[in-house]
């Protein structure tokens, strides 16, 4: 009886968590032009429409550009910071840390709005630069965390052993420390890229029609039309992200990189 209750609960949680996704996936193959559930048959016409729709094509490439720059810049800044925190005690370290974590606490709505106001002041309205800067801030905590954890996992004895064998500080960094944190950096970059690519709330404020990213384009589409094209795009995004994460976990041990503890 107890076993039955346990598995019922587990099933309920699983269904509750995955149901919205499953509904979206199912409507994406609906043959008619309505977002009906359950679907009335199987058709891939909406997938074809999704990949050929010009707004989505532009938004996809916008997203790729923004994501590449934002994640890479965040990786450079975040890694440097993680390295500094790992290596040195300095005044204001706590404040710096708090500022870097703040995007986890401050609503994306607020950040997006803030960047919009700033953009006006600096004449950067809804251009690529502003979108990239906003996304960079949003993904910074994730990159920093990933690099910080993998740095903490590098045994200090390894650096000392290398120095003992004649490696200068530069060689200790390039031959020992960097190769050992590289998986963490790659994993952090990937998480940042996925978050940036699918971010909506802040993007809604900082993008314009020329620079809109895919989620914003999807939102604009669904305000006008109610056909399953958006479901099809969602399905492709989910599948692509899942594949990417799966490969990344195999290649870099993503779970270890993102773990809260350092082991």
């Amino acid at each position: 009886m107890r076993v039955f209750a346990f598995w019922s609960l587990v099933t309920a949680i699983l269904v509750y968590m995955t149901l919205p996704t499953i509904v979206v996936l199912m409507t994406s193959v609906n043959p008619t032009e309505i977002l009906a559930f359950p679907p009335e048959g199987i058709s891939f016409q909406w997938y074809q429409k999704a990949v050929t729709y010009p707004d989505f094509q532009t938004a996809f490439w916008n997203g790729i550009v923004v994501t590449s720059f934002a994640s890479t810049l965040a990786l450079i800044v975040g890694s440097t910071f993680a390295w500094l925190v790992n290596r040195y005690e300095f005044a204001g370290r706590g404040v710096l840390e708090a500022v870097l974590w703040s995007p986890l606490i401050i609503p994306h709505f607020t950040l997006g709005f803030g960047f919009l106001l700033l953009g006006g002041a600096f004449r950067l309205q809804q251009g690529y630069v502003m979108v990239v800067l906003a996304h960079m801030v949003l993904v910074m905590p994730f990159v920093t965390r990933a690099v910080y954890v993998s740095l903490a996992n590098v045994d200090g004895d390894l650096s000392r052993a290398a120095a003992n064998l004649g490696a200068s500080p530069f060689h200790v960094l390039t031959r020992i420390e960097l190769p050992l944190v590289l998986p963490g950096m790659a994993g952090g970059w990937l998480i940042a890229a996925v978050i940036s690519f699918t971010e909506f709330t802040a993007s809604l404020y900082v993008t314009g029609s020329r620079t809109q990213t895919l989620p914003v384009a999807m939102y604009n589409y669904i305000r006008e039309y109610a056909d399953p094209t958006v479901s099809a795009i969602s399905a492709m995004l989910i599948i692509a992200t899942t594949l990417l994460m799966f490969i990344a976990d195999r290649a870099f041990g993503l779970r270890r990189v993102l773990a809260i503890d350092t082991h």
Binding site: D157, L158, A161, A163, N164, G166, P169, L180
Partner: protein, 373 residues
């Protein structure tokens, strides 16, 4: 060679001190290690032995003092310019490199030619019995193999000194015994000046030319193993090296060639005076006795060593620890506490079961006597 001041020093530690805030890590230690010597820093954890080793390697900056290697003051020299090999307690093998690359690392940092590196690496890999494992990842190696890679990596650079930081502590007991023998062989073959850190007195006694016993940041005694065991300089060394019974303080009496130790409430122990016992008549001394120099009375060994009827104390058997070739028997003696005897064979367990009264003879002539203060 004068053991306390070698003629050809490889390492000279001159009044080295390390303070951690108000706490003292190492307190004004001076030590000279001769070329080719195997010296062990021995002491309980926190005694400063690892800090001292860290200062020789250059990972810890001394608060004061000088470290001289091969005649050159290296106190301010960066670790990577010191040419000192080190084996870490954790081995610290580079996990992203295979065995060959780990061993070759130091030579590559020295910018040797590919051919030279290859020849040296192969030679040392052969010497450490690691042939055929060159391509293995270090994670795939057993503890003993990792240990050998760590050693190979440290000696391939032909260091001026080899530092070993508790390298055997991570191994199981059998492997540890085997690695002790290998370390000894390696030292003989390479002739490398070696400084070994351990808290295991057994390792220290079996491996070292000289042992430096440390406690609370200070050197307690520097001596070859046999001397350390037989004539410890103080109570700490006496109790740290091997098993020993510490008797309570007593009064030393000397008349003619006969010395006596009067233990109030326990009795009077006598022995022919030994030349190193330079205590005045009536001064307070403490006696330390190895378990083999305390024997049950009535046995051949006991009566032979103490003389019939003399040097006896009585107590009650508290426990037997059977060890195969011998038995350790712990006896509760009023006024002393637990006294340990080491008796050949197993018969004592039947003759004097736990709880039975027992008389022990004490061979004061073998005791270490230390004056108070």
């Amino acid at each position: 060679m004068n053991p306390s001041n070698p003629a050809d020093p490889a390492v000279e530690i001159v009044r080295v001190r390390k303070d951690y805030g108000s706490a003292v890590g190492v307190a004004d230690v001076s030590l000279t290690v001769g070329r080719g010597e195997f010296v062990t820093l021995l002491g309980p954890s926190g005694c400063g032995k690892s800090t001292l080793l860290g200062m020789i390697a250059g990972f810890v900056d001394p608060t004061a003092g000088k470290i001289i290697v091969d005649g050159a003051d290296v106190t301010q020299v960066e670790p990577y310019r010191r040419d000192i090999g080190m084996v870490f307690q954790s081995y610290a093998l580079f996990p992203h490199m295979n065995v060959y690359d780990n061993v070759a690392f130091g030579l590559r940092m020295r910018k040797l030619s590919k051919a030279e590196i290859d020849a040296e690496v192969r030679r040392v890999i052969e010497m450490m019995k690691l042939g055929g494992m060159e391509e293995r990842r270090v994670r795939q190696l057993s503890g003993g193999q990792q240990q050998r890679v760590a050693l190979a990596r440290a000696i391939v650079i032909r260091p001026k000194v080899l530092l070993l930081d508790e390298p055997l502590s991570a191994l199981d007991k059998n492997l540890r015994a085997q690695m002790q023998v290998e370390l000894s062989d390696l030292h003989r073959k390479t002739g490398l000046t070696t400084i070994f850190v351990t808290h295991d007195q057994g390792e220290a006694l079996s491996l070292s030319d000289r042992i430096v016993v440390m406690n609370r940041g200070e050197v307690q005694q520097v001596a070859p193993p046999i001397e350390l065991y037989r004539t410890p300089a103080n109570g700490f060394v006496a109790s740290f090296i091997g098993e020993i019974n510490a008797l309570p303080a007593g009064r030393y009496e000397i008349s003619g060639g006969e010395a006596a130790l009067v233990l109030p409430g326990i009795g009077r122990l006598t022995a022919p005076a030994r030349p190193e016992w330079r205590f005045g008549h009536g001064t307070e001394v403490r006696a330390f006795l190895r378990p083999e120099h305390v024997q049950p009375a009535g046995t051949q060994a006991g009566d032979a060593q103490a003389g019939e009827g003399a040097n006896r104390i009585s107590g009650v058997v508290a426990a037997h620890v059977y060890q195969g070739s011998h038995t350790i028997t712990r006896v509760t003696v009023e006024g002393i506490g637990l006294v340990e005897t080491r008796v050949t064979g197993a018969e004592i367990m039947a003759e004097a079961p736990v709880g039975a009264p027992i008389t022990l003879t004490i061979d004061l002539g073998q005791a270490v006597l230390l004056g108070e203060g």
